[in-house]
């Protein structure tokens, strides 16, 4: 996974150090620390993982291993409006795949990617507990139910301008 190099600022490093400290710099708290860091930075670039590795005394390869294992963690910045399509069983059988394809076509990106202008990112998730509304799409905090492929353009239009 090749990522764009970023430069952390002193205060960013201080923040990560603080998060690690909050969890007692315990190697066993790696997942909690990463969770908090992603909350802080929106994603987990290599540079953040390096600081976490140093402070928790966990090998960098191990940190990266955890980041790449859990689908919740991402090394790519999310878009301003992160779009998540539920591909849990109920949504899947009711056509979530078609909805995903439509989003991919409209935005010109694949799952897990972000548009060049940084506006939208696309990902899938597993069940939001609203199976009665399947297929479900989340844009940021907002939920859309019974989404069909031909309704995708309409949703995106809400976020134009």
């Amino acid at each position: 996974m090749s990522e764009t190099k970023i430069k952390l600022k002193e205060k960013d490093v201080a923040k990560i150090v603080e998060i690690c400290g909050f969890f007692g710099n315990e190697p066993g708290e790696l997942i909690n620390v990463l969770h908090k860091c992603q909350g802080e930075f929106g994603y987990l670039p290599a540079e953040v993982q390096e600081v976490v590795s140093d402070n928790l005394n966990v090998a960098l390869a191990k940190v990266y291993g955890v980041v790449t294992f859990y689908s919740f963690f991402t090394m790519k910045p999310k878009g301003k409006h992160p779009i998540s399509i539920c591909t849990g069983t109920a949504c899947y059988v009711r056509g979530a795949e078609n909805v995903m394809e439509e989003f991919e076509k409209e935005l010109g990106i694949k799952q897990g990617e972000t548009t060049a202008d940084g506006k939208f990112s696309l990902s899938s998730l597993r069940c939001v507990g609203a199976c009665g509304l399947a297929p479900v799409v989340l844009v940021g905090e907002k939920t859309y139910g019974r989404v069909a492929a031909d309704g995708v353009k309409e949703i995106l239009a809400e976020y134009e301008a």
């Binding site: 540079e47 993982q49 090998a59 390869a61 990266y64 294992f69």
Partner: protein, 590 residues
């Protein structure tokens, strides 16, 4: 104790024993693939991931992985039912469906655990072979090790060695599902990672996912070139293990046969790295005494303990992980890198040939030596002091390729002058050997007396961290020894925290020292093999007429006619080095 029945036989084992080990007690060998047991290191790799070792347990719905399922009192286990045999074969078919089918040309063919297991399980075809999706990764080549993850079966043995034993942390399981592999952080090249090239991962890899960079074609080409004088040096640990590749018992010394084989291969001069080991003792021992005397005289600037520097894996380790302590190790180069410049100056002068017309090859138990030979500071105008370093395994392969059988060869002697060595040089190959050799010489130089009891047995053994002392005529010199980088880390942390009371510490990256090196015949974690190899080296030492490095006549002549004094000007230029801070740098803005 608990009792259980396996294949209709009753066995009694301690509570906590796995089904696999209980079966072993009955001489029932349940097939294993990912499981690895390094008893002498107290390390077990049992991710329970491959599922080759499954067995049927009465009353249990699904099959149980025997490597990680504990035996219970009254348990009834069957290891060879139709259901078990079919399940094992299916698991193997799945593994093979995502594995390259290039056994004919694969470097691991004939030594591959996966190939052996497929044969044992009787796999004769792979369902949907042509239509199966295959995972594919880029090939990563470093100076010492090649990673071909297409051949990785996720046993994670390498990960255990890299993290738990060596604490290097270069490798970890990454990604998920079909994409899962053992890789580096951010999938960077091994060369950019914290890898020390100790090669312990290569030594345990069941397939060719991790292999050494093969330099034998270049060696053959050099030998065939009539314009080149090809000089070979053989490390001490090689002679104690090479025989195993020819079916000989572990611990069989094949020094003389190896020399004959090297001559048979066409090397022009067959020399011994042990000669350079004696030279190392002269330089490192002098440095040790210099620092020790300065310390005793009250010099606060002098750094103690002094650490040995002959192990390139260890040098890589402190350069990447403890760069703040890079002025503590001795500046003496390793024997391999002392041999090179002496061969290309002193010996080339004797022959009247130019440096460029000499090719120096080393036979090493080690993969880090390949990288060490390629370091820029060990080159003169781009010409390396040591041109190619090949492992014990590669040498065995070369000998077989040349239609020689080591077991039937006559013994012969090394060439002069760089084949002359003492018992002190020989024991470099076992943990504790370097510091024992150094102590033998330092004692005599410091006290001016003869060391009567040459065998410093208090420094020998297989424990990971050892302490011993040598009485220098009233001065108690305290010595620490660590082998395995995880143990080295503990001693380094002590030094960093000011808790170390040692005057000198020997560190070897590989468990057992060079005899357990990443380039040696595979020992599969059998510590008895390591002990036998060590015993062989001490046997060779005991049988040598001269057992102290400073008494080596060829070394004396080298100093008298060429180098001058140990740690003198020419020695510093040719035989000493400096270290680099290679810790990953962080780029931070204000």
């Amino acid at each position: 104790m608990i009792k259980l029945t396996i294949d209709n036989k009753v066995v009694e084992v301690e509570k906590g024993t796995t089904i696999f080990h209980a079966a072993k007690k009955l001489n029932i060998e349940i097939p294993i693939l990912c499981y690895m047991n390094l008893e002498h290191l107290d390390i077990e790799n049992k991710p329970g991931g491959c599922r080759i070792c499954v067995v049927e347990v009465e009353g249990r719905r699904n099959l149980a992985p025997s490597c990680s399922t504990k035996a219970d009192d009254g348990m009834v286990v069957r290891t060879n039912t139709m259901r078990v045999i079919n399940a094992r074969r299916t698991v193997m078919e799945f593994i093979l469906s995502d594995h390259p089918k290039e056994c004919l040309t694969c470097s691991k063919s004939g030594h591959c655990d996966l190939q052996d297991m497929a044969q044992k399980l009787g796999v004769r075809e792979i369902p949907n072979e042509t239509t199966c999706e295959m995972s594919s990764y880029r090939l990563d080549t470093s100076p010492s090790i090649i990673r071909n993850l297409d051949k990785c079966i996720m046993c994670r043995r390498c990960e255990t060695m890299c993290n738990e034993v060596q604490t290097v942390g270069a490798l970890s399981a990454i990604n998920r599902g079909f994409e899962a592999a053992v890789g580096t952080a951010f999938e960077m090249n091994l060369e950019a990672s914290t890898c020390t090239y100790c090669g312990q991962c290569v030594a345990v890899c069941p397939t060719a996912a991790l292999t050494e960079v093969d330099h034998t074609p270049q060696v053959i080409r050099a030998i065939a070139d009539p314009t080149k004088t090809v000089v070979v040096q053989t490390a001490p640990a090689v002679r104690a293990a090479l025989g195993e590749e020819f079916g000989m018992d572990a611990g069989t010394l094949v020094t003389g046969e190896m020399v004959t084989a090297l001559r048979g291969l066409g090397f022009d001069h067959v020399f011994d790295t042990d000669f350079a080991a004696d030279l190392t003792i002269m330089e490192e021992g002098t440095e040790l005494l210099g620092r020790l005397n300065a310390h005793l005289a009250g010099d606060k600037d002098v750094k103690l303990p002094i650490l040995t520097s002959c192990c390139p894996g260890w040098v890589n380790f402190f350069e990447t992980q403890f760069p703040d302590m890079k002025d503590i190790p001795s500046t003496a180069r390793s024997p391999q890198q002392m041999f090179g410049p002496i061969a290309k100056t002193y010996f080339a002068n004797k022959l009247g040939i130019k440096r460029e017309d000499m090719v120096v090859v080393s036979i090493m138990p080690c993969l880090a030596k390949k990288y060490e030979a390629q370091r820029d500071e060990f080159k003169v105008d781009g010409n390396p002091d040591v041109d190619f370093s090949i492992s014990t395994r590669e040498l065995a392969h070369l000998i077989k390729q040349a239609n020689m059988d080591l077991t039937t060869l006559e013994k012969s002697e090394f060439d002069q002058p760089m084949g002359e060595s003492t018992g002190a040089g020989v024991i470099f190959g076992a943990t504790g050997g370097v510091i024992e050799a150094a102590a033998r010489t330092a004692y005599e130089v410091h006290t001016g007396k003869t060391l009567e009891k040459v065998d410093l047995k208090q420094l020998r053994g297989m424990e990971g961290i050892r302490a011993g002392s040598v009485d220098f005529d009233g001065l108690e010199v305290k010595i620490g020894i660590a082998h395995g980088l995880g143990n080295a880390r503990k001693l380094l942390n002590d030094i960093r925290e000011g808790k170390s009371h040692f005057h000198a510490i020997e560190i070897m990256a590989c468990p057992g020292g060079c005899i357990g090196g990443g380039g040696q015949p595979l020992h599969h974690g059998d510590s008895e093999i390591l002990q036998k190899r060590a015993a062989a080296l001490y046997r060779e030492d005991a049988g040598k007429p001269i057992r102290k490095s400073h008494e080596n006549p060829a070394i004396k002549e080298l100093y008298e006619t060429f180098l001058g004094e140990p740690c003198g000007e020419l020695s510093h230029e040719l035989l000493h080095t400096h270290y680099f801070d290679r810790k990953r740098k962080r780029d931070i803005e204000d």
